[in-house]
């Protein structure tokens, strides 16, 4: 190969870096970093409904620290929602689906996975409307129609157990994410490990416990962290199905931020609350990263696979 004359190798390296990392960095700065900076700025202003800034204040941060009596309740609701959805559906149920559908013949397994993928593929508004119809407290609600077939009285889950509705609705969507990742991971486990385990006399449960689960450990860690963070900031289905109610019963933190900022026009206080979410998000991500030892996952492989 002829030596490059136009650029020294050092400069070339820089150009390569910019070419490869530039677009992603630009996107990160524009859509992740910059909004955080704007948010920090707004959080310390007095911006109200007319979007004018006339001065700077720490009033909003102080209000979060002590003045807002709704906050403790909101945080508790958020924890219930995130932990409930995550542990029951996004990880456990996703894993169960992956294990069961990979154990089935390919076509049957694929069919069930496709069924579980439908909620994720449907538009949020349509999906939320379907849920509203399912749990509608009238005789026309799907759930109540089914109950009526067995002679049971109708339920009003949206009023009596709104958190259950919210967790179910989010979980049915969330489960498919874990399912897809775990299915891929299970598929990539070398078959000879299963054969060897069977030769050694391991049953299905033992194989799952001693072969499958250790092999997909990283995927489980990843799904847990990723889904915990997305649950923390998502509220669209809650907003569409229960609207955060009744009263504040399903108003999770992210929805609370939205309500304060956009329903009441308290943009600065909303920004300050959102800042809290940014900080909590980073803290949760770092803690889980440490807990799951994700650093090891990102290490360079020590063996070379041919």
């Amino acid at each position: 190969m002829r030596p490059r004359r136009s650029l020294s190798s050092g400069a070339r390296q820089w150009v390569d870096r910019i070419l490869f990392l530039g677009p992603a960095t630009l996107l990160l700065v524009l859509f992740f970093l910059l909004p955080v900076i704007v948010d920090i700025c707004i959080a310390f202003t007095d911006m109200g409904r007319d979007l004018r800034v006339t001065g700077f204040t720490t009033e909003h941060v102080e209000r979060i620290a002590g003045g807002d009596r709704r906050l403790p309740q909101i945080i508790l609701i958020t924890l219930t929602y995130v932990l409930g959805t995550l542990s029951i559906f996004n990880v456990s149920y996703g894993l169960l689906l992956a294990l069961l559908t990979t154990a089935l013949p390919d076509r049957v397994g694929g069919f069930f996975r496709a069924v579980w993928f439908v909620p994720r593929a449907s538009p949020s508004v349509v999906y939320a409307l379907l849920w509203s119809w399912v749990v509608a407290p009238t005789n026309y609600g799907l759930l109540n129609q089914v109950l009526a077939m067995f002679g049971l009285p109708g339920l009003d889950l949206k009023s009596d157990a709104p958190m259950v509705v919210v967790i179910l609705a989010n979980g049915f969507i969330g489960a498919s994410f874990g399912m897809i990742i775990f299915t891929g991971a299970i598929r990539s486990i070398p078959q000879h490990l299963f054969h060897a385990a069977r030769v050694d006399g391991a049953g299905a449960l033992a194989i799952t416990w001693h072969v499958t689960l250790p092999a997909i450990r990283w995927q489980i860690s990843f799904v847990t962290i990723y889904q915990a963070l997305s649950l923390l900031v998502s509220f669209e289905y809650i907003w569409l199905i229960t609207n955060g109610g009744p009263f504040y019963d399903t108003t999770v933190y992210a929805l609370y931020v939205y309500r304060r900022a956009f329903d009441n026009g308290q943009y600065a206080y909303g920004a300050a609350l959102a800042l809290g979410l940014v900080i909590v998000g980073i803290a949760v991500a770092l803690t889980l990263w440490r807990f799951f030892d994700m650093k090891t996952l990102l290490q360079k492989p020590r063996i070379e696979v041919h």
């Binding site: 004018r52 709704r70 407290p137 109610g245 026009g265």
Partner: protein, 456 residues
């Protein structure tokens, strides 16, 4: 390149010459109108668009070469509060309209921010358009005592009651037909209303005793007003939070929810479910405004067919104010005018205001009133055939005598959303009335600071 330059010079010279010899072309002026897309009042925007025609004719007659064209932006917001926030956002980024439609209680906020033109002089200058406007309506457009908007319509909020349900539980015709008068005289109280609704439910005539709007809005304010709540101090212009009357109002809602009169999940129902419950005669009382008559009560909307004529309708349905708190007290109802506001910063502000003047003429306003069952803005409209034919408007107009308005305070939107949250809290059983009053005081002092004065 050179050739191109030569051509453009020729073109420029040509157009300059033409400009010097040919009379000037008419000057198109775009007036931007912002109105929420709302099926309960499509002519709020439509009348401004139509008013361009007489205005253009007048301009032409006066020898002006200006031609007004109205460009309509229909906001998708779900209510007037959300729409007002959208308008404020649009103004903040210099995309605001020249003229816009708003709920009257937002006039204060817009005027404070400098987006609502002071119209005292304009209104005096154009008596042909404004002289006959019902005087009490101007009260709803004042900010710091000065008129900052033009009323677009008015309305009456009320309790609709189903007379057939009362017949089913054995009430006499005299009682059924005499109820509005008993309420008017202050002989039939809020407690009596709850008890009557409970009786209807207990005796199996209806599944629901009373049903109301599911979201924040003006309706329930008249209930609190009936319990003696005053929302603003007229002299100082400060918002008031009278804890005593608020507690009584919340206790009334709590009693209704706990005694099977109002469904505990009323605030999580959809509008459709609520309206259908009343229309399909599962609910005895429905609380909203007269325009509901035109929108879905007559004919066969919402799962049932009701008579379209006055005699048939009033045989089935009756209207009452919010009754008095105690015997001999005053009943209350609420009128919630929608208004036109002109942006003073618009370079076409004067023309936009003239459009409003033309759109306020009886010919246009009556079209809106009669087609959407809103009461008129001018006395003279009552004698117009279209208005006379709209029997429900004729029937509602006398109720205007008991009307109260929402305070035109910039923070009233927030005040109202806190009050609604408290109401939702007691109805769903999440708060006791006592806790709800604490919630009100805590939230309002936190949110509104000195703008609200708590009266213990």
């Amino acid at each position: 390149m050179r050739k191109f330059n030569g051509l453009s010079v020729l073109f420029l010279a040509g157009s300059l010459l033409a400009g010097a010899t040919v009379p000037a072309y008419a000057e198109d002026i775009i007036v931007k109108l912002w109105a929420r897309a709302d099926r309960s009042g499509p002519l709020r925007a439509g009348n401004i668009v139509a008013a361009a025609e007489p205005l253009n004719a007048a301009l032409k007659a006066a020898g002006s070469d200006k031609v007004i064209k109205v460009q309509v932006h229909e906001g998708p917001a779900t209510g007037f509060d959300a729409d007002a926030l959208d308008i404020l956002k649009a103004f903040a980024v210099n995309q605001g309209p020249d003229v816009y439609v708003a709920a009257h209680e937002w006039v204060g906020e817009f005027a404070k921010a400098g987006y609502a033109m002071e119209l005292e002089g304009f209104i005096k200058k154009h008596p042909w358009a404004f002289d006959d406007v019902i005087p009490v309506l101007w009260e709803s457009t004042r900010y710091k005592g000065r008129i900052h908007a033009v009323p677009q319509d008015s309305e009456i909020r009320m309790f609709f009651y189903n007379k057939d349900h009362l017949r089913k539980i054995g009430k006499s015709e005299a009682f059924i037909e005499g109820l509005p008068e008993q309420v008017e005289k202050g002989q039939f109280t809020m407690q009596d209303l709850s008890a009557l609704a409970k009786e209807v439910v207990d005796k199996g005539a209806a599944k629901i005793g009373m049903i109301h709007r599911p979201n924040a809005g003006p309706d329930y304010l008249m209930t609190f007003a009936a319990f003696g709540a005053k929302f603003m101090d007229d002299a100082s212009g400060q918002l008031l939070l009278p804890l005593g009357p608020m507690r009584k109002g919340l206790e009334w809602y709590a009693w209704n929810a706990n005694n099977g009169v109002t469904p505990k999940n009323n605030t999580s129902m959809t509008w459709d479910e609520i309206q259908t419950a009343f229309k399909s005669e599962q609910a005895f009382i429905f609380h909203q405004g007269v325009w509901a008559v035109g929108e879905w009560q007559l004919g066969d909307a919402k799962g049932n067919t009701w008579p379209k004529d006055a005699a048939g309708y009033f045989k089935k349905i009756g209207w009452i104010h919010a009754p008095a708190e105690v015997k001999g007290g005053q009943p209350a109802n609420l009128s919630h005018p929608i208004v036109y506001v002109v942006n003073p910063k618009s370079k076409n502000a004067e023309l936009a205001a003239l459009l409003v003047a033309y759109a306020s003429l009886p010919y246009y306003n009556t079209k809106h009133a009669a087609t959407t069952a809103h009461t008129a803005i001018a006395w003279g409209q009552k004698s117009m055939p279209a208005y006379e034919n709209a029997w429900y408007l004729q029937a509602a107009t006398p109720m205007l005598a008991r009307s109260t308005f929402l305070p035109n305070h910039p923070d009233f939107g927030r005040y109202n959303s806190v009050l609604f949250k408290a109401l939702q809290g007691v109805e769903t059983g999440r708060l006791t009335p006592a806790k709800a009053v604490e919630f009100l005081e805590d939230e309002m002092t936190n949110e509104l600071k000195n703008a609200v004065k708590v009266i213990k």
